[in-house]
C-alpha cells in the first residue's frame, strides 16, 4: 500500500518538510445515496507521468472535481504541494494547472485573449502575461496563430491551447481529464508528446485521466480506478506482475472484469 500520509505544511509555514505534487488520502464522495468515490488514496510525484486509468463512470472526473475544489472534499485529505486544499485553498490552487474534459475556451476570443484571461485569474499582470503567452504558445506550437479566434481552430489545436493556458502560471502539478477524447490519432500523439515533454523538461507532476490503454507508456505510474475504488497504484511492470497478465489491457480486464475490450480501448 502506498504511504500517502503527510502531516506537514500548514502548521509550520516556514519549514514545510517536503511534498509530492499531489496527495489524496482516504477521499470519498457521494451524489445523494450513490457512492461514487470510496476511500481513494493516490500520490502524484513531481517529475512523473501518472495515468489514472478507469472506464467511463469510474469516478475520474469526480476525483478531478474534488482536487480542483469544484466539489467540497468532506472526507479524507487532499494536499497539493503540501497545502491542504480545505484549509488553504488559495495556496493549494496556485500551482495547479487543469485541462478539463469539456472544452473551456472562449470561442469568441483569440488565443492570446484567452490566455490573458487565464493569466489574470492567477493575478499575473498584462506585461508578464504577454511574455508567458508567447512562451506557452511556442511550447504547443501555436505561436503563429496567437491572434486568431478559437473558433477557427481544430479540436486538437484547441486542446493544445488549453494545455498552453494551463502552463501560464507555471504549475507544478498538471491535471488532464480525458484530454485526448475526440481527437484524431495525430492530435492525440501531439498532445501526449507535449505533456510528456513537460514532465521530462520541467519536472512537472502530471495526472492523466484516461480510459485509453494505448496512452500508457512502460515508464508511467498507473492508478487503476474502478467503480470509485482504487484497485492498483504503482508501476506498469508491477501491474503486470500483480495481475499475472502479459499486457496492460489484459491486466486491466482481469482487475475490472471489463468484458468488452472496447470499453477500455
Amino acid at each position: 500500500m502506498t504511504t500517502i500520509l503527510s502531516k506537514e505544511a500548514d502548521g509550520a509555514a516556514a519549514h514545510v518538510p517536503s511534498a509530492d505534487a499531489l496527495i489524496v488520502n482516504g477521499v470519498g464522495h457521494s451524489f445523494g445515496d450513490k457512492r461514487v468515490l470510496d476511500n481513494v488514496s493516490i500520490t502524484v510525484p513531481r517529475g512523473a507521468f501518472t495515468v489514472l486509468l478507469g472506464l467511463n463512470g469510474a469516478g475520474k472526473s469526480t476525483l478531478f472535481a474534488l482536487v480542483t475544489r469544484l466539489y467540497d472534499n468532506v472526507s479524507g485529505e487532499i494536499r497539493i504541494l503540501g497545502h491542504d486544499l480545505r484549509r488553504k485553498p488559495t495556496a493549494a490552487l496556485q500551482r495547479l494547472g487543469v485541462v478539463f474534459q469539456s472544452r473551456t475556451l472562449d470561442s469568441d476570443l483569440t488565443l492570446e485573449q484567452n490566455l490573458f484571461y487565464h493569466a489574470a485569474l492567477h493575478g499575473i499582470r498584462k506585461a508578464e502575461a504577454k511574455t508567458r503567452a508567447v512562451e506557452a504558445l511556442t511550447t504547443v506550437g501555436l505561436a503563429d496563430r496567437a491572434h486568431e479566434k478559437i473558433r477557427n481552430l481544430s479540436g486538437g489545436q484547441a486542446r493544445r491551447v488549453e494545455i498552453a493556458r494551463s502552463l501560464l502560471h507555471r504549475p507544478a502539478l498538471l491535471l488532464l481529464d480525458e484530454a485526448t477524447v475526440g481527437l484524431d490519432i495525430g492530435s492525440r500523439e501531439s498532445v501526449l508528446s507535449i505533456v510528456r515533454g513537460l514532465v521530462e523538461r520541467e519536472g512537472m507532476g502530471v495526472l492523466w485521466a484516461t480510459h485509453l490503454i494505448d496512452e500508457i507508456a512502460p515508464t508511467d505510474r498507473v492508478v487503476v480506478l474502478h467503480k470509485g475504488r482504487i484497485l492498483y497504484t504503482g508501476s506498469v511492470p508491477g501491474l503486470l506482475e500483480v495481475s499475472g497478465q502479459p499486457n496492460i489491457r489484459e491486466a486491466f480486464r482481469s482487475m475490472t472484469g471489463a468484458k468488452d475490450t472496447a470499453e477500455a480501448a
Binding site: 502506498t2 466539489y71 497545502h83 473551456t104 476570443l109 485569474l121
Partner: protein
C-alpha cells in the same frame, strides 16, 4: 492488489503572496473579458438596444394619449409618456442584461468554462463579485448608448443627470446581477431558462413602476400595487429616475408646493418639511437587496456549503 513505488520528496512550495496588484490584475481581467465578449457579439449588443428602443419608439408613442401621467417628483412639470418610461426602460436594459448574464453562466457551467473561473486561486466571493462587476459594466455601456439614442428622441434630462445616474445604474445593475448570479446557481439546465422569463423577468418588470406610476396602479388594483411596492425592481427604477434628474439626496426647495415636493416611491405624495432631504429608501432597498442576493449567491457557489455541491457541482454533474 496495490504495489508500492518509491515516494519522492521535494521541498514544499511556499505559497505566492497575492498582493493588491494581483487582485487588481484578476479583477481587470474578468471585467475586460465580459466587455470583450459583449463587443464581439455584435448581434447581442444590437438586440439589447432594440428591445427598449421598440418600447420607446412604438409602445410609448402609441400609449402617449392613453396613459396620462400627472406631475410627480422628480418631474416638475407635465412630461410625455416617453420621458416617464425612459428610466423604466433603462431598468429593463439592466434586468435583461443581468438575466442574459445568468444564462451565460448556466451555459458556462454546462460547457465547463465556469470551472476555469472557480478554480482560480482567489477567494470565490472575490471572483464572483468581479464577474458581477463585469456584467454591470456591460449593462452600463448599454444604458448610456440607449440614453444617447433617446436624446435624439427628445428625452433630454438635465446634463448633470447623465453623471448622477451612473451610481444608480451601477447599484441597480449590481442588485439585478446578484439576483441573476443566485439564479444561475439554482438553474440546473439551460432549458429551464424559459421559466426564468415567465416567473422572474416579466413579473418583475410589469409589477413595477417602470411603465406606469404606482398611484395609477393603486387605482386599478390595490393588490398589484402592494406587490409593486415591495418589488425591488420598482426601487431600482425609481432610483434611476431620481438620479437621472439629479434629485437623490437633494435639498427640497422650500418654495415647492407640497404636491411637487413629495415622495413618489409608493405613489403617495407626502409633504416634506422645508429643507428636508429627499427619501433615500430606494438606495437602501437596492443596496440591501444587493447584499442579500450576493451573499446568497456566494453561499450557493461555495463548494462546502452551497447548493451547487449538493446538486453535482458546477459543470452539471459530469461525474465520469
Amino acid at each position: 492488489m496495490n504495489v508500492d513505488t518509491p515516494m519522492r520528496s521535494f521541498e514544499a512550495e511556499a505559497p505566492r503572496k497575492h498582493g493588491l496588484g494581483a487582485y487588481a490584475a484578476c479583477f481587470r481581467g474578468i471585467v475586460w473579458r465580459e466587455v470583450l465578449r459583449f463587443l464581439y457579439q455584435r448581434e447581442r449588443f444590437f438586440s439589447a438596444l432594440v428591445r427598449p428602443l421598440v418600447w420607446l419608439f412604438i409602445f410609448a408613442a402609441g400609449f402617449r394619449q392613453v396613459l396620462g401621467v400627472s406631475i410627480i417628483p422628480p418631474y416638475t412639470t407635465y412630461v410625455l409618456y416617453e420621458t416617464f418610461i425612459t428610466p423604466g426602460l433603462i431598468g429593463m436594459i439592466l434586468l435583461f442584461n443581468a438575466m442574459q448574464s445568468s444564462l451565460s453562466m448556466v451555459y458556462d457551467r454546462e460547457t465547463g468554462a465556469m470551472r476555469t473561473l472557480l478554480v482560480a486561486p482567489f477567494p470565490r466571493s472575490f471572483l464572483l463579485f468581479s464577474k458581477l462587476i463585469g456584467g454591470v459594466a456591460v449593462a452600463v455601456l448599454q444604458a448610456y448608448t440607449f440614453l444617447l439614442i433617446a436624446y435624439f428622441w427628445d428625452i433630454t434630462p438635465p446634463w448633470h443627470g447623465y453623471l448622477t445616474v451612473l451610481p444608480a445604474l451601477v447599484l441597480s445593475g449590481l442588485m439585478l446581477g446578484a439576483l441573476a448570479l443566485l439564479m444561475s446557481s439554482l438553474i440546473r439546465q439551460l432549458e429551464n431558462f424559459a421559466g426564468v422569463m415567465n416567473f422572474v423577468i416579466f413579473p418583475m418588470f410589469f409589477a413595477s413602476s417602470a411603465l406606469y406610476p404606482l398611484w395609477r396602479i393603486r387605482e386599478g388594483s390595490p393588490l398589484l400595487y402592494e406587490l409593486a411596492r415591495f418589488n425591488p425592481f420598482t426601487h431600482a427604477v425609481e432610483l434611476i429616475r431620481f438620479a437621472l434628474y439629479g434629485e437623490i439626496g437633494a435639498k427640497i426647495d422650500p418654495t415647492m408646493t407640497p404636491v411637487s415636493a413629495g415622495i413618489s416611491m409608493d405613489g403617495v405624495l407626502i409633504p416634506l418639511a422645508s429643507g428636508e432631504l429627499l427619501d433615500l429608501t430606494h438606495v437602501v432597498v437596492v443596496a440591501g437587496c444587493t447584499v442579500v442576493f450576493l451573499s446568497a449567491a456566494v453561499f450557493a457557489y461555495n463548494p462546502s456549503k452551497g447548493l451547487i455541491a449538493r446538486r453535482g457541482g458546477p459543470g452539471g454533474g459530469n461525474a465520469g
